[in-house]
Symmetry: C2
Subunit: 206 residues, 2 copies
């Protein structure tokens, strides 16, 4: 197959606990053509972890320099350690035509979108929005405080959703993985991703 | 499965002779959830043709009234007969959540895009752009007039492409059908097509 476009940056995000990691790992099992982004961190390597495979290990000073130099697609600090996605590493892979997937929290995804709007932003949604609907329809049969509480969570989730290109409900991991795969396949067929290939083909000949 | 959005209007177009009809018929064989748009025409019904199945048969006066009243998504005149797509019929099916596919010439597709920009516009590309590349790479081994002529055709095709959402190369009918199907599946997962469903769900409960 001809390599017609650069790789896709696929950003899989969604509310905490929705199963992003599970879906991402399952996708890894069925699609070996996708790279998984390697993060930089100031955390110490654990037994068996490898530089450039699990993480790029950096000192605090180096990491803060990377932040200052805008060398990270996104970053966050958890429990005194920095974690972030090196822009250079991602861009290099994309340029080589390699798809790369980033599994990331909603706040990080928003930052990535600012820096790389060409990414494919997939929101993994909890399946309980459908359950919620059923409860609403059978209103009166359940504690209304509980319904209201769920409703507020659902509202917040829907407003997160608006920043994404696609919504995939994680009702079953296999279904969700197959939908993510379908999205990746379709995105490779998007006109704006392939037209330059055709244009270069024709113009390179003059 | 829940019906989360209205149907998709899928417009399959491309240069003359690229195989739009073949791909469309093959798609019909594997996907029975897609409706095929029924055109209106002033042509007389042929033996065995049925009103509302093959065409909606109209008199010239009625058809011209439909044009005047802007009741057609697109229309054209071939050999003294009008052909066109009734807007009302298409909108009704979409509202019912029915996907509908329109196999149409490039000029017609451009008109549809003006009236219904939410459609999914797929450009079926001839596979010979790849062949062309090979010939360019082996330049000098073939008549350069022929190469230039093909190049001009290719350039015109690429500029048509720019108006579409997706490009599918019709290298083999089965491949092309499967790509069109992938695009349809992915489009149903697009955030802007499903978010209103979620919003209504939550807001309908207040």
């Amino acid at each position: 197959m001809l390599k017609k476009d650069k790789g896709l940056l696929i950003v899989l995000s969604g509310p905490a606990g929705v199963g992003k990691g599970t879906v991402c790992n399952a996708l890894r099992g069925v699609n070996d053509r996708i790279s998984y982004s390697v993060s930089a961190t100031t955390r110490s390597p654990r037994e068996g972890e490898q530089e450039g495979v699990n993480y790029f290990y950096k000192t605090k000073e180096v990491f803060e320099e990377m932040i200052a130099n805008d060398e990270l697609l996104e970053w966050a600090k958890y429990v005194d350690n920095y974690y972030g996605t090196p822009l250079h590493y991602v861009k290099e892979q994309l340029r080589e035509g390699q798809d790369i997937i980033l599994e990331i929290e909603v706040q990080g995804a928003a930052k990535v979108k600012e820096k790389y709007p060409d990414g494919v932003f997939i929101f993994l949604a909890p399946p309980n929005l459908d359950e919620l609907r059923k409860r609403i329809e059978g209103r009166g049969t359940e504690d209304s405080d509980l319904i209201n509480q769920r409703m507020n969570v659902a509202k917040a989730e829907i407003e997160m959703m608006a920043q994404y290109d696609y919504v995939v409900e994680n009702d079953q991991v296999d279904n969700a993985v197959s939908k993510v795969q379908t999205i990746i396949d379709a995105e490779h067929l998007r006109q704006e991703r392939v037209i330059d290939y055709y244009r270069n083909l024709v113009e390179g000949s003059e």
